[in-house]
Symmetry: C2
Subunit: 217 residues, 2 copies
């Protein structure tokens, strides 16, 4: 694995874990030393992550970890809503067999189990798996990579809202409905159910952040 690759995944990890907090600036040379390599692979990695919307390269100021504003969240959830709903619709058009929907079903099972023991981290992980698998089943690689990018951008926010929100009971019912619509090969229903699901989640989270005056993450 190349140093540039390592720099990409390492920097991602540092951003997601909060070791490089939103809004902070870091010199290329600092990061290079921190990751034990020269500036070159750091610069290449930074350019990649910049185009993925995680950070920004500013001349003489180093790389800035991009904060996510309320407005950003609105934009991102809107994109996620549309593209994932498209994926659900397309998935339902494929007439997948039960076996092919196994991963989706297992993600739902895990969410239910996590919810019963109130393990929110485990629930969030399974929720992630559900959404990743859904867009995979949708069969559009561009939808998959765009939604992955958008999810990355709000990953920090989720860590905050996860413990502020009510137990995601409604979410679980939504997922079940989307799954059944896909299994029954009902594209319109799959689309509309997922659309409503994402819209609800969006409104709930934006409302939550607004009420807690968290305008930046």
């Amino acid at each position: 694995m190349s140093n540039t690759q390592r720099a990409i995944s390492e920097l991602r990890r540092l951003v997601f874990s909060g070791e490089l907090p939103a809004g902070s600036d870091h010199l290329e040379s600092e990061l290079a030393e921190r990751l034990g390599m020269s500036r070159t692979p750091i610069r290449e990695a930074a350019r990649t992550l910049e185009s993925q919307g995680l950070l920004e390269l500013r001349a003489r100021k180093g790389v800035r970890i991009l904060p996510v504003s309320l407005e950003d969240m609105r934009e991102i959830y809107d994109v996620l809503t549309e593209l994932e709903s498209l994926a659900a619709e397309r998935a339902a058009e494929q007439h997948y067999t039960g076996a092919e929907l196994g991963e989706l079903a297992s993600a739902i099972t895990d969410m239910k189990a996590a919810l019963e023991v109130k393990d929110l981290e485990a629930w969030a992980d399974a929720d992630d798996r559900f959404h990743v698998e859904l867009v995979r089943l949708g069969g559009n690689s561009r939808v998959a990579s765009i939604t992955a990018m958008m999810s990355d951008q709000v990953r920090r926010a989720r860590a905050v809202t996860l413990f502020m929100r009510p137990l995601p009971v409604q979410s679980n019912e939504d997922h079940q409905g989307v799954y059944e619509a896909i299994a029954k090969a009902d594209p319109k229903r799959a689309h509309d159910l997922h659309h409503a699901h994402r819209q609800r989640a969006r409104d709930m989270i934006l409302d939550l952040l607004e009420r807690h005056r968290l305008r930046q993450l």
Copy 2:
């Protein structure tokens, strides 16, 4: 302007003009010499363009200009359909004044004029302006940059299909309808009209390419 910036716009131009044809490979050192700079800014530019889906960096093979397959076109038009329809919907929610919709109206006027004198290049330019302005009015910067990226990826294909397709009379009517729905602040109608418009264009182009056995561009 930095050499990296120049490399980005120059490489884009070379790709769009066909001077670097789809599927061709080019050594970093060749491109560096061609653009009169060292490999470093070429590599940085290539990484940026890679994340925009225009080319691919392959070890020891240089950069490969990515061809666009029929399947790619399907994916791209699907994404464009959903995100632009969202933009139309959101634009209609803003209650824009006539003045604020001026650029959109002017794009439509230009398309009509171009159509009457059968100037397809001028029509395509105005059509571009319409779609760019539409997503701008939608107010979601991520939708704007994603649709711009997707449009870039099919730009080569459009040059081919433009002169194969029937005169875009239907398209012009569609645009008019979307414009009116936005002016009348009817989000659902704006969404549905634009969705149908894009879907029609998609089916027409895919059909055209398939009948002409153009499976790669």
